[in-house]
Each structure stands twice: as structure tokens, then as C-alpha cells.
């Protein structure tokens, strides 16, 4: 590991003023992504700014009914918070399906939003990677890509976004609060992560020096909720395909539905085509499968990951079925 300077900050304005983040500086909270990548020599920050003392550890209900979550709330605390368990069970399930207890205790809400891909070529400084070193090429396209994305890919990058939490947040609906040298702004969660396109090195809408301070969840959607994660082993593995589903019923018909996907896409993926296909329709298995098909219309299969198109559809159909059962309960 290369040596870096470590600075601790006590206040948000101290954290965000005059930062060169993106350019030799990095924020650190739980460190579960950053330190791994520094040890692998994938990230080489000259300076690391420790933000763990900032007052961003609260979960509070806003007057309009939304839930405001401090960026330093740990994954464990968020997953087990009584309001989350009651009003956003899909988020709690997503969080608890990720990583291990030890990692969830360390990992923060803001850090989870910022976690980097597990693409092995990104994590290997000796291999070309457009995300790590723009213009060097994508090793995964013709390499081993069983774990890679089928949605939102480009000819420059097919790496998945690895988070479970973010998939739950996309389904629940959320807004990110960002603090920067030029003040505070809000970004819709769905718009925050960027598709790789021609610039896979640009992963999100965070301007230099900005820090995620809060995630605000939309007012609770009610309905039946479920997060289903499919993988090889039963725990401690990133999703091969996952689905967060929220279903509200009007009689036997689906009145409102939210579908988000993980493990199959280059960013936490809102499957609007699936939602549109199902909304207003009877909540039947046939319709769930039709919605699932709609989500993958534009999917691209690479040499080892065509199965993810099938698996992703299965995740959607099963998650919708189970969320619907809960909506009926």
C-alpha cells in the first residue's frame, strides 16, 4: 500500500471546502471499498479525508413524511431501524442480503452508494480497463464476463454496479443530498449513477469536492415489498441477479409497481418497462413474466453471461409474485 496523508474533519464545511476529490484526494468512511482498492494499487490517493466524525449519523422522519438518513449511518443500523423495517422492508432486505455482518457494521450509507465495481479487470492494475485508465480498452468484453452486466452496457465497459442497498433505494425512491464548495444540492437517486457510455470512468453525478451527506427516502409506498437476490452460494456473494419489487393492489389488479434490478446492470437499475407492462394489469404469473420479459428487451448477452438475461427475468417474476403475496396479506 502506498502511503497517503490522513486528515480528520469535524464539520461538513471543513470537509468540502477546497477539496481536490477526484484529483488525488478521497473521502473515507467505513473504508470497505477504498482500502481494498488502495491495497490493490487500483486507487492511489495522496490524501484521505476521514469524514467519520461528521454529524451525519441520524435517521429522522421529515415533516412531509420522507425519511432522512445520514450518510454515516451504518448498513446494519439502517437495515434494523424500526421505521425502515416497517415502511421500507425492501431496503432492509436488500441491505441484509449484502456482504457479511462485519462488513455491514463498517459500511456506511454514503459509502455504499459510492462502492466500486467488482469487475476483476478493474481490480487488476496490470490489465487494461477504461474505468480505471480511460482509453486503455475493456478487458471484460472478450475476457471472463460471467459476472458482468447485460443492461446499460457500452462497448467501453460492461461492469456491474455491485450494491444491493442501492437497488432497494431505487425501488423505494430516494433523493441524494450533496454538499459541496458551492453549497447544497439534491439529485434524484436514479439520476445519480451514470451509464458507462463513452466515459466509464464517470460513475456518478458528484462534482469535485462534493460529499454525500444524506439519502432521503420517498414517503412510504406501502404495498407488498420484496428483495430477491440470486447467486451461486447462499451468502457472502455479489448478486448474479437481484430484484427489488414493490406492488400495490387494487382488488386483483396491480395499481402501483416499482421494479429495480441489481447484478445485471451497469448501475442500480430501475426497470420502468416492466413497471409499465404490469401497471393496471391483473396480478397473475403470466403478467409477471411478461413484465420480466419487458425489462430485458434491450439486454445484450456477452460470451459468458447470457444466462443473466434468463436469471434476471426469473428474479423479477419471483420477486413480483412474493411482493404481491405480501400485498394481499
Amino acid at each position: 500500500m502506498r502511503a497517503f496523508e490522513l486528515e480528520s474533519v469535524e464539520a461538513i464545511d471543513q470537509a468540502v471546502s477546497h477539496r481536490r476529490v477526484h484529483d488525488g484526494e478521497a473521502f473515507i468512511a467505513g473504508g470497505t471499498t477504498l482500502l481494498d482498492l488502495v491495497k490493490l494499487d487500483v486507487m492511489q490517493p495522496e490524501k484521505v479525508v476521514d469524514v467519520t466524525r461528521l454529524p451525519l449519523k441520524r435517521i429522522e422522519t421529515l415533516e412531509d413524511g420522507r425519511l432522512k438518513i445520514g450518510a454515516l449511518v451504518s448498513n446494519t443500523e439502517l437495515a434494523k431501524h424500526e421505521i425502515v423495517l416497517r415502511d421500507y422492508p425492501v431496503l432492509s432486505e436488500a441491505l441484509l442480503s449484502g456482504a457479511s455482518t462485519g462488513l455491514r457494521n463498517m459500511a456506511s450509507t454514503g459509502g455504499n452508494v459510492m462502492q466500486r465495481t467488482r469487475c476483476p479487470y478493474f481490480r487488476d492494475p496490470d490489465m487494461p480497463c477504461n474505468k480505471r485508465e480511460p482509453g486503455t480498452g475493456c478487458s471484460a468484453l472478450d475476457g471472463i464476463n460471467r459476472n458482468h452486466a447485460v443492461l446499460g452496457t457500452s462497448e467501453h465497459c460492461i461492469a456491474t454496479h455491485p450494491s444491493d442497498m442501492c437497488v432497494g433505494m431505487v425501488a423505494a425512491g430516494a433523493t441524494l443530498v450533496l454538499e459541496g464548495p458551492d453549497g447544497q444540492r439534491e439529485v434524484a437517486f436514479e439520476d445519480y449513477h451514470l451509464l458507462p457510455g463513452d466515459h466509464p470512468e464517470r460513475e456518478h453525478d458528484l462534482k469535485p469536492g462534493e460529499l454525500i451527506t444524506h439519502v432521503i427516502l420517498d414517503t412510504p409506498r406501502g404495498g407488498g415489498q420484496h428483495y430477491l437476490k440470486l447467486r451461486d452460494r447462499a451468502s457472502y456473494e455479489f448478486a448474479l441477479a437481484s430484484c427489488a419489487a414493490i406492488v400495490s393492489l387494487d382488488g386483483d389488479n396491480v395499481s402501483e409497481v416499482r421494479v429495480a434490478l441489481g447484478g445485471v446492470a451497469t448501475k442500480p437499475w430501475r426497470a420502468t418497462a416492466a413497471e409499465e407492462a404490469l401497471k393496471g394489469q391483473p396480478a397473475t404469473q403470466e403478467n409477471f413474466e411478461r413484465a420480466a420479459d419487458a425489462a430485458f428487451t434491450d439486454a445484450v448477452a456477452y460470451s459468458h453471461n447470457g444466462y443473466k438475461i434468463t436469471l434476471g427475468k426469473q428474479a423479477i417474476a419471483r420477486a413480483l409474485r412474493d411482493a404481491t403475496a405480501r400485498a394481499r396479506a
Binding site: D124, E237, T310
Partner: protein
């Protein structure tokens, strides 16, 4: 022999030291003034180093020296003979020349004052290469340069001539991928020199072999080398033989004049410390009308390195498990640009029984016979490959007992016919088998005046319970409680002991320890019957002088052995023993059978193993807790082999890409089947040794992958002949590749 302690289930006597962190592992040693090494590893799989740019690394903080092929002392290769006690798997020395034979090979070693400084500097070493085309896998190797004959071949009768006209036959090919051992504790060396004497702490399954190899490599007598490995965080075979890092650490320590610690980073645990090689196995089987085998051919090819030939003896079990007059087993190797493979838990048998026991299942189906009945009809009653009786073989009882407990007879043989909710249930079975080996061994036992016993042997406890069963042995003979017995292992300053491998530690060390204990008692009797002794009038060979429960007794008069020693002002009575390996009167093997239930949910393509019943015949069980633990652990490792594990090499450059614990998938707790039922038959094999124990570390993994694959076939109708059984191999309607 008392029945109380042999066969009982005392907890590991070293358990508390391990769970409290008190037990020292190799990298826990920090001699004064120690420096740290960190490797620079090749980023190509084949080629030549054309240049090294060391300037930036030399300027890096704390750097002491940087070793490479132009800056490394001339050493000698070891002849690599197990019999001579100097075997290594990779005979090429690190930094021997500028050739690169595999990705992740040592190309330089940075030594610095701290670990972090060494690692930081290692990243600054620039290496330029002349890159050659790499042979990245078995198919490429066979295509490029064919195969080379291996060892362990066998032929009897005329397998070819009895195949074509047979009533039923199959001709199928199985493949298994590279598996990596992945012990939790990474390979590590801490080397120090005092003059021309080398002392090294190593995470090793074989300290005596490592001493012998270092002796040959450095040209110094074995008596000048001490290798210590009191505790290891598992090895699974990867730590049987010394790897290049230990030579590199020893050289660095000698040249810098400081102790040097070198830990192999996790990614290079996939490249430079061995692996189970890739195999391709063609199976041709034929039966008569009655479903009796008339022809069996098992032809295996495995990958090896460009530096050494390692043969994975996949057909080792095939020779003798089933009765068949016409049988051929052959092993060949092909060279690829990977490091040298090595033994991994049940080498040969683990991949070999995946092929054999899958093929038996296919053969039974082709002959229209239930797979259980087919095995019972065809199991060999004697070892036809050696024309010897088995010393003890209860495979029929094991198979029937496990079948009964599992409920095999409730199985509906029709594929996909057993359902539970949206899951399809499949039942599969396989035989398991492993050779029983006993080696030469020495041990020393002291009965001490403080009322304790002290045992030494230069074997190792690799987590299996060797410390505990050795203490049980001494306790059994002396009557001393386990808490009074100190066992010291893993140090070449002790009497020569075996490598911890091949499942032979129990059968090898226990007779030596028992004999040494008896020698110590004999010496004690000599003291007691000497002129000033408590039994001065008794002949020291007299049968009437008995040692039991810590007492010497004669004619109803008992004296505590402590008092015997104190009476003579002696510290201890000592015994040393040197016992021999097994004879060849019988074929010594262990037997068993696995029964497995899988559940396949086609709606979400989820496969899990829900139930395992295994019955194992390994002779006498010495410690019921640690023995069961070995079989249960092997079963879980077998599940990993069946549907999770494979080291993925990028075919373009031979690089392992899933070289970490997140992407190289081994089973975790949540994958443990809800029911694992291990039946230990516990029939003493007294032809093998006085304890009747044959060893238990490896047999449990053999056959597991086949049992799972056979159950998967029963559930899904898909015969998976290529491990691992990834879900996409069972899925329908997978879209074709759309990208260019």
C-alpha cells in the same frame, strides 16, 4: 489397551490456545531486527524478462535490497526426492534465470524495514518482457504439444476387446477445472541465519521435507537447519512441499544479515503455491446382460507446468473399487503456462471419483439397473489390481446403512418426478474410497518427575487433531490424564515424523508414540529395579512388573512413577521409537458411500444440497469428535467442488481472474446442508496397525461431486460432466451471445 480414551471424543488439547490467539502461526514470529519481503510477480504467463527498472523502488522509503535474477546468489536445486526427504513440487529456484513460465511467478523481491514499505516499493518496480504466446488451458496444451505419459498406470485383461460387443456400454468424457486450496492462513516464512545455520518458521505440512530441501539448495547439512511449524491455518495439500517464497526469504535473510518475513499475498496463493490441476477424463465402461462390468477404461489427462511434471492419478481408485477383469487406467500430462500443480485433498481420487462415480451412474442407467444395486453387484471383494485381499473392507455395509438412513428406497427413479412445492428433489449416491498408508516414524516420550509426560515428533497438526490423538495414545498407555500430557510437534529438532498428508498421520504417528511410551516405561522399570530402586529384587523384564494408571506395581505393591524418579534423583524416564511403514500382505484401503439430496428450483435457477448421509469405513476411530469433523469438513469441501469452485484463467494470457475470497466461491456457513449425517462404522483394522486406524482426512471429499451430479441428473435430467455445476448449465432458454 483401555477403551476409555481411544475412540472417545475429547476436545482438541490445543483448542483454547487457538481460539484465544495464543497459538503462534508462522507470520506471528517477529525476531529482533526483522525486515519484510514483498514479491514482484510476473504479469505475463510466458516469456522472458528483458529489463528491470529498479530506480523508483530503490528510492522508496525503507528499502534495504531488491533481489532478482541478476542479483541472487547461486544455489543448487534439490533432487526433490520424497524418499530422501527433500521433495519440492516446483524444482526451479526463484530468480534462477530470466524465464517466465507462469503468471504470478516471482520476478523480484523487495526487502524493506516494514511490510508497507516493502509492498509500496514492490509496486514501483518496472519489469519489461519479451512476451511469448501462453498456453492457457488443457485444450491449448494438448493441441500445441500433445501429452506425455504419466505414472500410476494399470492394465489387466483386454478392456478394448471386451467393449464393442458388450450388452451395454458408455463412452463419455468428464472435465474438472483448476481448484485452488485457499487455506485461510497464507503461506509465510520467517527466516533467520546465525553463521551458517538457518532457522525458519514456515506454515508447513512437512517440516522434515522442507529441511531436507533447504539443505540441498543451500548446500549445508540438515543439522544446521531448523524448520518450525507448530500451528498452521490449514493447508489442504498446498503446504506439503516448500514453494519458492521460502527459498527467497532464506536468501534475503542471509544476504541482508537480518531476519526476513515473507508472506505470499492472496492473489499469488493462486499462482505460486500449487493448485489442483485441470483434468479431462475419458471413461469407457461396458457390462454384460446382467449388469456386471466386463470392460472399464479410465484415461486421464491433467495439466502440469513447464518446469515440472505433476501427475493427477485420477484412476488410482478405479483399479480396485469395482470387480472387472478387463481394465485400463492411464494418466498423461500436458504442459500449460501455470505454476506447478500439487496435491489437494484426495489428489487423484477427488477428480477421479467425480468421473468414475458419475460414469457408474450413467452405466447403471444404460444397463437399466438401480445405481445402488449396480454398485452392490459390482463392488470388488478383493483388490484385483494387486491380486491381494483387502485388510478390511465394509463397503457393502456402509452403502446399505447409509442408503437405509437416507431413505434411498423411497426414491422414484423417474427423472424430475419428486417435487416439493416449486422445488424438484433429486437423489444421488456415490462410493468413496481412499488408500491407507503408513510411513516410517520416530517419536520420543518422557515420563517426567513432575508427574507429566512430554511427547515430541516432527510431524504437524494441520488442524485435524494430531496433538489430541497423540495425547490420547500416551494417556491410554500410561493412565495419565490429557491435561498432564504435553505434545510438541512441527519442529525439525524433534524426532523425524511424516508429512501431514495422504491421511497417514494417524496410522503413522500413533504406533511410534505408543512404542516410545513403552520404551519410556521400560526405562522407568529399569530404574525401579536397579540396585537402589523400589523393586530392586525384581527382574526388569518381569511380566509381573506392571505400569498402569501412573503406577508401577508388583505383587500388589504399587509405587507412583514420580516417586521412582525422585528416588533416583532423575528428571525423567525417556523412550525413543522408530517404527516402520506398512507391509504388503494386504491391500489397505478405506471405503464408504455418500447419499445426497439436491433441490432445484427451476423458477429462479437455484440449486442447493439439502441433505447428505455418508457412511465411512476407516478402521477404528481414535477421536470421535475430530474424526467426524474431518468427514463433515470434507463433505462441505466436496460440495464446493461440485457446484462452486473453479479458478478462472483468462485464455488470452493465462491469468487467474477470480484470485480472491469474494470471487473464488467456496461454501459458506449458509451453504451447509441442513442435515449432514456421518456414520462412522468403526471396525478396527488390526492388520494395518495395533490401533486399527486407517486415517480419515481425505476420504470424505471423494465421490461427493459425483453424488451431487447424480442427484442433479435425477432432479433435472441434465448430466453435467464438466465441473462445477453452475446454474447456467442447468438453465433453459439462455439467449445466444449478441455481442461481436
Amino acid at each position: 489397551m483401555s477403551d476409555s480414551i481411544i475412540g472417545a471424543g475429547p476436545k482438541r488439547i490445543d483448542g483454547q490456545r487457538k481460539v484465544t490467539g495464543e497459538a503462534p502461526y508462522a507470520a506471528d514470529h517477529h525476531p529482533d531486527n526483522m525486515a519484510y519481503g514483498y514479491g514482484v510477480f510476473s504479469t505475463i504467463a510466458s516469456g522472458t524478462i528483458t529489463g528491470l527498472d529498479l530506480e523508483a523502488a530503490r528510492q522508496s522509503p525503507g528499502v534495504i535490497d531488491i533481489f532478482h535474477h541478476n542479483h541472487f546468489p547461486e544455489l543448487h536445486r534439490t533432487p526433490s526426492s520424497m524418499a530422501q526427504g527433500n521433495k519440492v513440487e516446483e524444482t526451479r529456484l526463484p530468480f534462477e534465470d530470466n524465464r517466465v513460465h507462469y503468471e504470478g511467478q516471482f520476478v523480484a523481491l523487495v526487502v524493506a524495514d516494514t511490510f508497507d514499505n516493502a509492498r509500496a516499493a514492490a509496486r514501483k518496480v518496472g519489469v519489461s518482457y519479451q512476451r511469448d504466446d501462453a498456453i492457457a488451458n488443457l485444450d491449448q496444451g494438448v493441441k500445441a504439444h500433445g501429452t506425455k505419459p504419466g505414472s500410476g498406470n494399470h492394465e489387466r485383461g483386454d478392456a478394448e476387446g471386451n467393449f464393442d460387443g458388450a450388452a451395454h456400454s458408455i463412452d463419455v468424457t468428464y472435465t474438472t477445472p483448476v481448484e485452488t486450496h485457499n487455506p485461510m492462513e497464507m503461506h509465510a516464512s520467517v527466516a533467520s541465519w546465525e553463521g551458517d545455520r538457518l532457522s525458519i518458521f514456515e506454515s508447513s505440512q512437512g517440516v522434515v521435507q522442507q529441511r531436507g530441501a533447504l539443505s540441498k539448495i543451500f548446500g549445508i547439512p540438515p543439522s544446521h537447519i531448523r524448520v518450525e511449524s507448530p500451528f498452521i491455518g490449514s493447508g489442504f495439500g498446498s503446504k506439503l512441499w516448500m514453494w519458492p517464497h521460502a527459498v527467497a526469504a532464506s536468501v534475503a535473510a542471509r544476504e541482508t544479515g537480518r531476519p526476513v518475513q515473507l508472506v505470499v499475498p492472496r492473489p499469488q496463493m493462486f499462482t505460486t503455491t500449487g493448485h489442483r490441476p485441470e483434468t479431462r477424463q475419458r471413461m469407457r465402461l461396458a457390462t454384460d446382460d446382467n449388469g456386471r462390468l466386463v470392460s472399464l477404461r479410465h484415461e486421464s489427462i491433467n495439466t502440469t507446468s513447464f518446469t515440472d511434471q505433476y501427475v493427477e492419478t485420477c484412476g488410482s481408485v478405479t483399479q480396485s473399487l469395482y470387480s472387472c477383469p478387463n481394465l485400463t487406467v492411464s494418466h498423461e500430462t500436458t504442459r500449460v503456462n501455470r505454476g506447478t500443480p500439487t496435491s489437494m485433498r484426495a489428489p487423484g481420487a477427488a477428480p477421479g471419483l467425480f468421473a468414475l462415480e458419475s460414469a457408474i451412474d450413467e452405466m447403471a442407467l444404460a444397463a437399466g439397473v438401480d445405481p445402488l444395486e449396480f454398485r452392490l453387484n459390482n463392488y470388488a471383494d478383493r483388490d484385483e489390481s494387486q491380486d491381494l485381499d483387502f485388510s478390511s473392507n465394509h463397503i457393502r455395509e456402509a452403502t446399505e446403512k447409509a442408503a437405509e438412513k437416507f431413505g434411498w428406497h423411497d426414491r422414484n427413479p423417474e427423472v424430475g418426478s419428486m417435487r416439493d412445492g416449486h422445488e424438484i428433489v433429486g437423489y444421488g449416491m456415490a462410493a468413496c474410497n481412499w488408500e491407507a498408508i503408513k510411513r516410517e516414524c520416530e517419536a520420543r516420550v518422557s515420563l517426567r518427575a513432575d508427574g507429566t509426560a512430554y511427547v515430541t515428533c516432527a510431524t504437524q497438526d494441520i488442524g485435524t487433531g494430531t496433538y489430541t490423538i497423540i495425547a490420547q495414545t500416551v494417556s491410554d498407555i500410561t493412565g495419565l490424564g490429557l491435561e498432564k500430557i504435553t505434545v510438541r510437534l512441527g519442529d525439525t529438532s524433534y524426532p523425524n515424523g511424516p508429512i501431514s498428508g495422504g491421511s497417514w498421520t494417524t496410522a503413522t504417528t500413533l504406533p511410534a508414540v505408543a512404542a516410545a511410551t513403552r520404551e519410556a516405561i521400560k526405562e522407568l522399570k529399569g530404574y525401579a529395579t536397579s540396585e537402589k530402586g523400589d523393586f530392586a529384587d525384581v527382574d526388569n523384564d518381569s511380566d509381573s512388573l506392571v505400569f498402569e494408571n501412573g503406577q508401577l506395581t508388583h505383587d500388589g505393591q504399587g509405587v507412583n512413577y514420580v516417586d521412582v524418579l525422585k528416588g533416583q534423583k532423575l528428571a525423567s524416564a525417556d523412550g525413543h521409537a522408530h517404527t516402520q511403514g506398512a507391509d504388503d500382505r494386504y491391500s489397505y484401503r478405506s471405503f464408504g458411500a455418500h447419499f445426497v439430496e439436491v433441490r432445484w428450483d427451476p423458477g429462479i435457477s437455484n440449486l442447493r444440497v439439502s441433505r447428505v448421509v455418508s457412511a465411512i469405513d476407516v478402521g477404528r476411530v481414535i477421536n470421535s469428535l475430530t474424526a467426524r469433523n474431518q468427514v463433515e469438513g470434507a463433505i462441505v469441501m466436496g460440495l464446493g467442488m461440485a457446484h462452486f469452485e473453479a479458478t478462472d484463467y483468462d485464455a488470452r494470457n493465462g491469468r487467474p481472474v477470480n484470485n480472491n475470497y469474494a470471487e473464488y466461491v467456496v461454501p459458506v456457513h449458509a451453504d451447509q446442508p441442513p442435515e449432514v449425517d456421518v456414520i462412522l462404522l468403526d471396525y478396527p483394522d488390526l492388520e494395518f496397525n495395533e490401533f486399527g486406524a486407517r486415517g480419515i482426512g481425505e476420504i470424505g471429499i471423494t465421490g461427493m461431486a459425483a453424488a451431487v451430479a447424480n442427484a442433479v441428473y435425477h432432479a433435472t435430467g441434465k448430466r453435467i460432466r464438466d465441473l462445477p455445476i453452475f446454474k447456467e448449465k442447468l438453465m433453459e432458454n439462455i439467449p445466444a451471445v449478441q455481442s461481436a
